[in-house]
Subunit: 257 residues, 2 copies
Amino acid sequence: MLNADNQVRQDHSLTDYNRTTMLGRCSMCVIRHRGICGSLTEEELLEFRKIASRRTYEPGERIMCSDDQTKFFAGISSGAVKITKILVDGRQQVVGLLLPSDSLISNFGNSNPYFAEAATKVELCRYSDVGFIRMLDQFSGLKQRLMEQTLGDLDAARDWMVLLGRKTAEEKVASLLHMLVMRSNVHRPEDSAEHRQMIFELHLKRDEIADFLGLTLETVCRQIKTLRKKGIIQMFGVRRFSILDTDALSEIAGEYK
Amino acid sequence: MLNADNQVRQDHSLTDYNRTTMLGRCSMCVIRHRGICGSLTEEELLEFRKIASRRTYEPGERIMCSDDQTKFFAGISSGAVKITKILVDGRQQVVGLLLPSDSLISNFGNSNPYFAEAATKVELCRYSDVGFIRMLDQFSGLKQRLMEQTLGDLDAARDWMVLLGRKTAEEKVASLLHMLVMRSNVHRPEDSAEHRQMIFELHLKRDEIADFLGLTLETVCRQIKTLRKKGIIQMFGVRRFSILDTDALSEIAGEYK
DNA sequence: CGATCTGTTGACGGCAGTCAAGTCAAGTGG
DNA sequence: CCACTTGACTTGACTGCCGTCAACAGATCG
């Protein structure tokens, strides 16, 4: 029965069964569904797989550095990656937090040095540098998707600049929580009632949050406490939280409705 | 004589004379030399010109807004454009300062609203939205160049995040001056001796600088005064300056050598 | 010459940083 | 199994940088 079905449809498209077996774990991967691989046809994906290799990183492990020689292209399939820039005297600023389906791409430019590091246990799909550049020319959708992602990253970075330059400590912490909630619900419809029952991951330690928000870790602690006491959030242990009052959180975060 | 010369060389390349007349002001334009038009051959440029139109803006004039309907693509040929994001209560953060040869591209994304506005008298070269998207597919170098520029913008935004999150008021002001000096000398070799005699433009008013650095305008005034008293900079009027001690400025700005 | 816009300077206060002590959980070794 | 260590987080007391408020100075313009 299954074979017969194959016979019939094989000419112009793959069956669901064949898709799963041929594409293997790609078919379960967020990068395929929401990341750059989403711009590829199944035939293109089979080609693209050849230049990809998977790897896991432990929390704190260095993934990439701005003065590495080879260019780095990868997609995040699970976990959280933070990109950190550093000043000469050691002050740090986290300038990016990459979550599943995001892309990690090294940059040339003569700017402050930076590095990417696993914040949690991370699984990512790395693409060979020469192969990736070749694929960019070969599959026009890929280039297009990468461009859109980069423009999105730029916009997100600029939003974060508003936070860093103009928001108070409480607003900063509220904004971070708000962002994490929004990002984990990108696929499902906006449903603030549902948020109430969900538990979200903070991903970062207190000092990493501080470096992300341009604060000290002590201030982060105090502001989380404030939000707890106001009954806006609830903590489960030290790195999980849920939202009790979504509207209040949005308001403090300074988000437009 | 001139005609004869044309006859001889016309087959495989254009004469300098013809270039200038056919390409018109493009041949004098920074966008041609350092901007996105630099990725085009002369034949492509002649095609590209058709979708471009020039316009000047007066200081303070609104150029583009994030909730405009049509997409906006343009290159800056002279002047300075600032991109500003705003919070609900009116707090502002300048998230980008575009100078000649930079590109101004509107973004979709559901982020904080923003707008682009002429900081000085501005001349820019705008490209029709449908035409530009068509050219992107047609001329692969253009897409490539745009991608590189966007990655560069992203990196610059992240550097600015370090400034906003981790630098002191004095370091912020020093960094701004340092950046302006570097940016006006992109084409010529690094020559700190030469800086001493040059006079640079601040482009922005005090409150705009404040919104760029995440400070108040009073603090900006005080820090400029400090740098003056330390003998690191010299002011000419209120929006021009020169550098007396490049090393000291770099050091305070926290730049790597 | 007044009106307006922009920039400068001073006095004061508060938000968030600094320093320091203490709690808690998880691991380690005797 | 318990003392000890270690790392992550919390809380308190104090300080200082920078924001706020206000007055004033200069420039530009009708």
